[in-house]
Symmetry: D3
Subunit: 188 residues, 6 copies
């Protein structure tokens, strides 16, 4: 195939390496807005979601573990280009606009990679919550946020109450994660 | 006047204080995308633009200095809510969308302050480049970027060439700033 | 005029750019003394004072807004050379010595800029509290300190009580700022 | 099953959350030894390996993508307890000792999780390079190191030559990754 | 003497300079494991121990002050190569292994310096607690940990209770330090 | 004895602990002025001087090693109160004023400690360069600066040439340190 000659592939992969390096530096900006001076990077957060996904996969033997992990890894990859837009920014942009920009970002990062169309498809599956695997990653994205909020509270921050608002709602599809949320909440 | 009873004002000003504290922590994200691990904040950049504006005001005695300074201080204030969107994000969002979100952000931060309508008007003047004062601040926003790029290059970074692309174009209205850009470029 | 030929001006302005870059990195050292590992820069603080000045200018229509903003921007500019001397250092140096060094520092940074004599005059006006505008900036310097102390307390710090000592005294000339101080105090 | 009653699981998963938060803060210490003041975390590195694994999986259709991703995510997870031991530390400890400690660390983190035995098995597979999937992750661990070294060199660091020593050897099993290494090397 | 010809000495001392620069960057990793994002370096900790040693030397006129200070300065110097192994890592490695690696690390750093054998001997004396001076430094290593834990607690951290466990035991040989520990504990 | 009753001593030592914690956070400000975003602390620098002093003591058997180490540890201790004044600040303050403030700072930190008068005397000896031991520490203070400048240059910084100006002058009393300076210079 012409398109993915090895030279092209190496160049595209090197570009991905650059974007990974950027995701290691870009902060999750909601934490900055609450006074955390040196917050986790987007890369670190995505690692957290993916590692939790691996850990809970054993609770959901009916789900495809490889698919779960792939979804976790692609879910924020476009933020290398778009940066992490906190809720205040999402409200200003409007949901439709934000979703469209995220779609473009994910495509820009993923589409030229080997099996790029497949990876873009995974991202779209995540976005749409089209499968149980995708919805699991969305739930774990929430869990990871609560876990990190807890860690920052234990490090002293007193600004994070809003992250816990309605922490106990929305776990119908994955009650085990609701129990984990409760466990995290109990440790505050 | 009902609207700005003192209690309301204090509460609105305290909210501004929160947003200022956020602007001290939010990074200028373009630097992060080029490997600068602990870049300047939006607040620090805005300070740079405003201080340069004060310094060059003496070169432009026909311009209104107070207006210049006010424009410099409002120009990025909405980023407390929107965060700093780097060029890659602007390209994904589209210029119209970004401008509209910035307008909403500036209004959200400024409109409830004392003389809020006036401050929102200043922001709109800046955005539109409607006056020579506004265009001066846009030019200084560029100068400040070049000056900080120079500082980061002297601190070692080798990733910043694109900030200097066409550094010498676009100074027709303020040739003195073109000379300053040349001086900065000569120091690389 | 010979002195400010454009070449000289560009060189002087480039030097100011260097000093601005320094002010973005130099910390407000009192925070470090209280255990805040990555505190705001002097540039960020000055931005806070200037932005508050813009916001409260609407409360004081009898004052010259342009003058207020200029005073805010020059008030700490000499710290690029002198650094931020915390109270413990001021006590060791003695007030006279500190004031004299600050005067020299402001002159060193400002005097060669376009309209430099005017800028040095603004700094002296601030230092002396010679006008109501100057005293307003002194009051806002205090407000900004309280606001940032509040932000650090919400981020967890428990070392900042002394910043609040006599928070409610000294607002006679600007009672609206006393109300703002009360509002900030109430949010602790 | 008694062992993994939900309560136990939640508690074990909350402990994993703590360890993930630690991995976000623990640095890759080799960078610190070369003067990089604020280096990537272990979590960020692992994210890089896993994301690269997802990207290159398309080049190796004969390999099990889910397995590859799981191996990437477990490969450094024990460092939450052991920390990242740089080469100088490995030399002092001796390889056998280090391997044994890493095995214990991985077991401590993984064994109590749902399907813990399976996860420990994945780690052992990685350690032993027992499968082509495991060897791919070892190769990607090298690639990720080179890519990050390149990023730090572009940010200015001049201390990283030794990371590139013999960069072109050892890619026999995955020549496509050798080409990627060459591409990264060419960008220095 | 051949061995320490001046050229060799300069080269060995320059190497020590490199290791000192590393110790300024390497963190005390136990703090990272408890959520402190930018903790003290090993160099800073060793400075604390040595400075405390100087301060308390006046309480122990029967001890050799020069010996005390030298012991404080060598006690962690090998961590430039080994890094700071937190308790979790020590437990995984086993005490014997850790001690042996520390011995090798101290030798690697110290043995080639002027009077290197003497310096290695000091390190061994510290390790063994062979003299009262060595045991004093071990006690001060504990004090310094408590003092820094107190500082981090005042900066907001709520994760440090375990450092205070049995804070009041083990001061039999140096009851004055037990009083200091009590004073620190009283300030929590 | 009244003065140093144990309770007083514990309280004074706890205060020293606070000042040590401050010295771990206060930066060496000259580095900040040259664009190093996260520079070494004063504590880390003092550790470097003291550790170098221990290392070179073997070259100067006629000197009192314990005295050398004590001088190294007290030489910057007053900066907990005064902060690190870079050369630009020293020039603004004048040498006499700076020296007097440093004397007061050292007294404030040291005089109430056990054997406080002795410690203050050590500081005065250092300041005056009254002994060969004191002059050795002054020379090592210079060496440590060069060594750290070298480390920052290797990390990328290109702003540090002035630190090397006349690096080869002033080593008459300690030619071995001149050789070390030459070795460091050769490694740039």
């Amino acid at each position: 195939m012409q398109y993915n000659s090895d030279m092209t592939t190496s160049s595209d992969l090197a570009l991905l390496c650059e974007q990974i390096a950027i995701l290691k530096l870009l902060p999750r900006s909601g934490w900055l807005q609450r006074g955390i001076a040196l917050p986790e990077s987007i890369a670190a957060h995505s690692y957290g979601v993916a590692t939790l996904a691996l850990a809970v996969a054993g609770l959901f033997p009916e789900l495809d573990r490889g698919r779960i992990l792939a979804l976790a890894l692609v879910h924020d990859v476009g933020e290398a280009l778009l940066t992490d837009l906190p809720l205040t920014a999402q409200n200003l942009l409007g949901e439709g606009v934000k979703h469209e920009a995220e779609r473009r970002a994910a495509e820009a990062v993923l589409s030229r990679l080997p099996n790029g169309a497949d990876l873009v498809g995974l991202w779209a599956e995540y976005r749409a919550g089209a499968t149980q695997e995708a919805r699991l990653i969305k739930a774990l994205d929430r869990i990871e946020l609560l876990a990190q909020a807890l860690a920052y509270e234990q490090a002293g921050n007193r600004n994070l109450a809003e992250f816990w608002r309605r922490w106990d709602a929305g776990w119908d599809e994955f009650p085990q994660l609701g129990e984990l949320a409760a466990e995290l909440h109990a440790r505050r």
